[in-house]
Amino acid sequence: MALLEIRDLHARIGDAEILHGINLTMDRGEVHAIMGPNGSGKSTLSYVLSGRDGYEVTQGDILMDGESVLEMEADERARLGMFLAFQYPVELPGVSGMAFLRAAVNARRKEQGLDEVDQLGFVKLARSVAKNLGVGDEMLKRAVNVGFSGGEKKRYEILQMALLEPSLAVLDETDSGLDVDALKIVSDGVNAQRGDNCGMLVITHYQRLLDHIVPDYVHILAGGQIVKTGDKTLALEVEKNGYAGIHNAA
């Protein structure tokens, strides 16, 4: 059974329909890239998948492991194993990073029928995972994302992903705002999560991220629809000819 199946998905914000019938099927262990120009519906797709309020699905369905998630709140989807890495992670002044991470991990563990991790055990776990991603103790101690640089925020997203071990990860423009070194660290963190149990949907404007996170499939999103699907060479084609060339050819 497919990990993710998007069937003829139409969605709108307010009166404006942004997605006009998206179809996509992804199996576990696969990495799919979604590329598209500004305004093509990339971020809308990530929010509709993750269940953000205000994004209304008017037609079609989203299935995770064969089960429709449309009626589920964002938190239910996340506990089932969906993870969204934000393009712009938000700052939560006054919310302790450790308390936040532990609440998230325990919510997921509870759903899986596992015991909650106590405070001490969690600090050990978080530190060991954080170390591999270059997230220092100082960052762990602060309020969520408060005072973090752009690169630090992205690393903190990947840290959350590593701790939550999602089955479906949606990465929304994870490369935006990263310099070359930061891009390498973040990509290494993402690649470490690749495996037979996890499927990844990598949403990006630029091909350069896909040099680091090499996709199995590349979809071109334009005007709220997938206009072309191919392998990683499609991304190079975009880099060479631009979106206009692809769109017109399609």
């Binding site: 709140e73 964002a74 938000v90 609440a103």
Partner: protein
């Protein structure tokens, strides 16, 4: 010491005069309506207070307690614990000239002063000496059972130069109206912490007044949590009497269905080089109404004053209302003063971020409420008090989430 309990008929003629003046002032003007500037958001004219009489002295004889605490019932001291040797306790009757001198320090032409003077039974004076040792916190427990009467406890705190004290005020019980007065004269280099917790029955009203005078290099840290009653106004008047004193006033109100919370402060910088910092946070659910009024006055001589004031209210319901009236009156030219007031709702983006991590909506909302109140909670610098207040807020957020989740989804 002779106390008034033995001779209730005796009263100092000047105190009688003050009480009589208070009665006639209220008889003349009535309870303040919304036309009265200081009461425009919290009018009392329709509160039905006219039908109340001050509670009679309870039959209880004064008992002792193991802890360092005083218990007041219906406005009268009924239990006194063993005090640290640096603290001495005296009950002052209406015939006492010491009490008269304190009463003269009450705000003039003020309804809360009238209320206290009009219902005055007795007062308790705490005299605190400087001490080498750390004195454990002193708890003042106010309760009452006379549901159709008003309680008027008066606590006076005389802090000697260099003295240190932590006071915890707990206001519970079911007196129809509680009008407690706390007055503190904080000597040079003395340090006073006051943490107030108001959780009276929902049928009651609370009109509390604190009057604080700060000496040279004195430090006062006051924190208030208002959660109970249907109508609560907690008012503080602070006056800097000598240079280099520091004040932190923080307050949190938590309002739910049918409640009205009012935090009012008057801070008077009369002398140079003093600091005041006020941090007010309120969370309002259902149709609750929250009010913050804060006046900072900086006299012409009060150069180098640093006066800060920030109030924020968080509305969890479209029916909730928050009013803020910050006022700065600055007559000195070399000062750093700022004030601000905001009213907002829970940020949907923040809520979505937490939910996208699998954190259930109710828990996510509680985390954000807690974070919102953090700035005020951080001002408490006593771990035990902070953890007590945190627990109350956690419980409140949890209770008010059930309603929220149903209301929003």
């Amino acid at each position: 010491m002779q106390v008034s309990t033995m001779q209730p008929e005796l009263a100092h003629p000047d105190i009688d005069q003050l009480a009589g003046d208070a009665h006639s002032a209220v008889a003349q003007t009535g309870w303040p309506s919304s036309k009265h500037e200081a009461w425009k958001f919290t009018p009392l004219d329709k509160s039905g207070f006219d039908s109340l009489a001050p509670a009679s002295r309870p039959a209880d004889t004064l008992s002792t307690a193991q802890t360092q605490s005083l218990t007041f019932k219906d406005g009268y001291l009924v239990s006194a614990g063993t005090m640290d040797k640096a603290i001495s306790l005296r009950q002052l009757g209406r015939d006492d000239v010491t009490l008269l001198n304190w009463l003269k320090l009450l705000p003039k032409d003020h309804h809360l002063s009238y209320l206290s003077l009009g219902g005055l039974g007795e007062a308790v004076l705490l005299e605190v000496e400087a001490s080498e040792n750390e004195i454990p916190p002193l708890t003042l427990h106010f309760t009452g059972e006379q549901a159709s009467a008003s309680a008027h406890p008066v606590v006076l705190v005389q802090m000697a130069d260099g003295a240190r004290l932590t006071l915890i005020e707990e206001h519970v019980g079911s007196n129809a109206l509680s009008a407690p007065v706390l007055m503190a004269d904080v000597g040079a280099s003395a340090s006073l912490h006051v943490a107030k917790y108001q959780d009276q029955a929902r049928s009651t009203s609370h009109l509390g007044l604190s009057v604080l005078k700060l000496g040279e290099q004195a430090k006062v840290n006051g924190f208030t949590l208002s959660k109970g009653s249907k109508l609560a106004r907690m008012e503080s008047h602070v006056e800097f009497m000598a240079d280099d004193a520091e004040l932190v006033l923080s307050a949190i109100y938590l309002g739910a269905s049918g409640q009205h919370h009012d935090i009012t402060t008057v801070v008077q910088h009369e002398v140079p080089n003093c600091q005041s910092n006020q941090v007010i946070r309120g969370v309002l659910n259902d149709d609750a109404h929250g009010v913050f009024q804060g006046k900072v006055r900086v006299a012409p001589d009060a150069q180098k004053t640093d006066g800060q004031q920030m109030s924020r209210a968080l509305l969890l319901s479209r029916d909730a209302v928050a009013d803020a009236k910050p006022e700065l009156e600055i007559f000195a030219d070399d000062v750093v003063c700022a004030h601000g007031a905001t009213v907002g709702e829970l940020d949907e983006t923040l809520l979505f971020y937490l939910k996208s991590r699998g954190i259930p909506k109710a828990q996510a909302q509680a985390m954000l409420i807690k974070a919102f109140l953090g700035d005020a909670l951080e001002q408490i610098d006593d771990d035990a008090i902070a953890s007590f207040m945190n627990q109350i807020i956690d419980d409140w957020a949890e209770q008010n989430n059930d309603a929220l989740v149903m209301g929003n989804s």
